[in-house]
């Protein structure tokens, strides 16, 4: 609980497995804290009212809009951002698929789509075309027209299926 409205609170965020001890005002969103306090500017802010999905991150493995959460609410939860997708300097299959399928142009919406796509593939790698389009429709892209984004998620799913023995 805070005494004064503009007081800062001590918050510990766990982002991509790393601990970040920060001080933030209660009104700071998780997206703001990731960018300004943790220096992780891969998470983009588009609309700041939950419509565009650009700020999508994973909290305990599930996609959430980081503009609709206060940083203080994320204490004790595992946050994953776009900076956490590559492993040992190697891009994730989905990241590579975005490049190979021209699923980005200006790149503004890309971190949000990558995190959403990652969550979809983690949970339901065999998702139907219809359900995939429905799930991706929560995020807005103003350049590519979505078809290539759908194609990239499909390509990554195929690649990940080949890698994992049944």
């Amino acid at each position: 609980m805070t005494e004064a409205p503009d007081a800062t609170l001590a918050v510990i965020l766990t982002v991509n497995g790393e601990r970040h001890a920060i001080r933030v005002e209660a009104r700071r969103t998780l997206a703001d804290a990731l960018r300004d306090n943790c220096g992780l500017t891969g998470t983009h802010l588009g609309c700041e009212h939950g419509v565009c999905g650009a700020c999508t991150v994973l909290m305990d493995g599930e996609p959430v809009r980081a503009c609709l959460l206060f940083a203080v609410q994320a204490q004790g939860r595992a946050i994953r951002t776009v900076e956490g997708l590559a492993e040992g300097g190697e891009l994730s299959p989905l990241q590579r698929a975005f490049i190979d399928n021209h699923a980005l142009q200006c790149g503004y919406c890309t971190p949000g789509f990558l995190m959403l796509g990652t969550a979809i593939l983690d949970r339901d790698p065999d998702i139907s075309d219809e359900a995939l389009v429905d799930a991706l429709s929560s995020n807005i892209c103003r350049c590519t027209g979505y078809a290539n984004i759908v194609k990239a998620v499909r390509a990554a799913a195929a690649e990940m299926r080949e890698k994992v023995p049944a």
Binding site: M1, T2, E3, A4, P5, D6, A7, L9, E25, A26, R27, T29, D32, C47, E48, H49, G50, G53, T56, M59, E62, P63, V64, R65, C67, L68, L69, F70, V72, Q73, L116, A119, D134, A135, S137, S138
Partner: protein, 294 residues
């Protein structure tokens, strides 16, 4: 697009939350935040105190209780959507939830938040109305029952006193074999509906024993079409019957806003109501005739 400063409180119990609510001036409860946070960011809402319910014990969960499902106010929409209990007994709610925002917002959004926010187009408000939900409202003097039909006082205004909070929703189970359907029209899937219709039909011996028909998005609150329901009772389901019942939507009072004029909402309502009734009828199975009282 940043919220104005507020004092943040994160109680761990309902009692603590109620105490804060009763003692703090200009306080708001924060549930899933998927509607309140945009309102804070756009500074449509500017509370001095925010009471976060996310760490309060015992407010989430779905249990079967004496012919009803009890859903804690802080139960996430996604958990309700995926609940086997809800899918088995309240298919109307499971179907409607697929229209509520998106996966990211359903991971956070709660049923209690949705009901108390009381957006005219909110799917869960229409569903709770169609299913005659009863709300557990807790205040300094204890818990009271509040019928969902008495919840809306006006546009986005629930009939809760400033020191009260919603703690659970109880929904009487429609009989096994009932048919239900939810239909809506929105500009984009996941957006608030311009108009929606929820139908529940109970068939007995090939005739409609009970009908429930609710419209969302047409006025300040959900609209139960009691006259149409009464006209459906006792009839054999047919396209013509549903068309006639839905025609009642042509004369309802509907609102106009930048998204759609009233006449368009009336036309949508008639079409969606007819489709919802037809789908509900096709999903209903007439229970085997009981030879004698078991």
């Amino acid at each position: 697009m940043k919220a104005a400063p507020f004092a943040y409180h994160d109680p761990r119990s309902v009692e603590e939350a109620l105490h804060l609510l009763a003692t703090l001036e200009n306080a708001r409860l924060l549930a899933g935040g998927q509607s309140l946070m945009p309102m804070l960011n756009m500074r449509v809402a500017f509370p001095d105190h925010l009471i976060d319910l996310n760490r309060v014990e015992g407010l989430a969960g779905i249990t079967a209780e004496g012919g009803a499902l009890r859903i804690g106010a802080m139960t996430r929409q996604r958990d309700i959507e995926e609940s086997p209990l809800v899918r088995a007994h309240l298919p109307l709610m499971a179907e409607a939830l697929t229209h509520v925002g998106h996966r990211q917002t359903r991971n956070r959004g709660t049923i209690g938040g949705s009901l108390c926010n009381l957006d005219p187009s909110a799917e869960l408000v229409a569903v709770a109305t169609a299913l005659d939900a009863v709300l557990d409202v807790q205040g300094p003097s204890g818990v009271r029952d509040l019928s969902i039909h008495d919840l809306p006082l006006g546009f986005m205004t629930p009939s809760l006193a400033p020191e009260e909070m919603l703690t659970a929703i109880r929904i009487p189970l429609p009989p096994a074999g009932h048919g239900a359907a939810f239909e809506e029209f929105a500009r984009r899937h996941g957006d608030y509906a311009i108009t929606s219709a929820a139908a529940v039909l109970v068939l007995e011996g090939g005739r409609i024993a009970r009908a429930s028909l609710t419209l969302g998005g047409v006025g300040a609150g959900p609209l139960r079409l009691r006259t149409a329901e009464a006209a459906l009772a006792g009839q054999a389901p047919s396209e013509a019957l549903f068309r006639e019942a839905a025609a009642a939507c042509g004369s309802i009072e509907a609102m106009s806003d930048p998204q759609a004029p009233a006449w368009y909402r009336r036309r949508l309502a008639a079409t969606l109501a007819r489709r919802a009734l037809a789908a509900a009828a096709s999903r209903a199975t007439t229970p085997a005739r009981q030879g004698s009282l078991a």
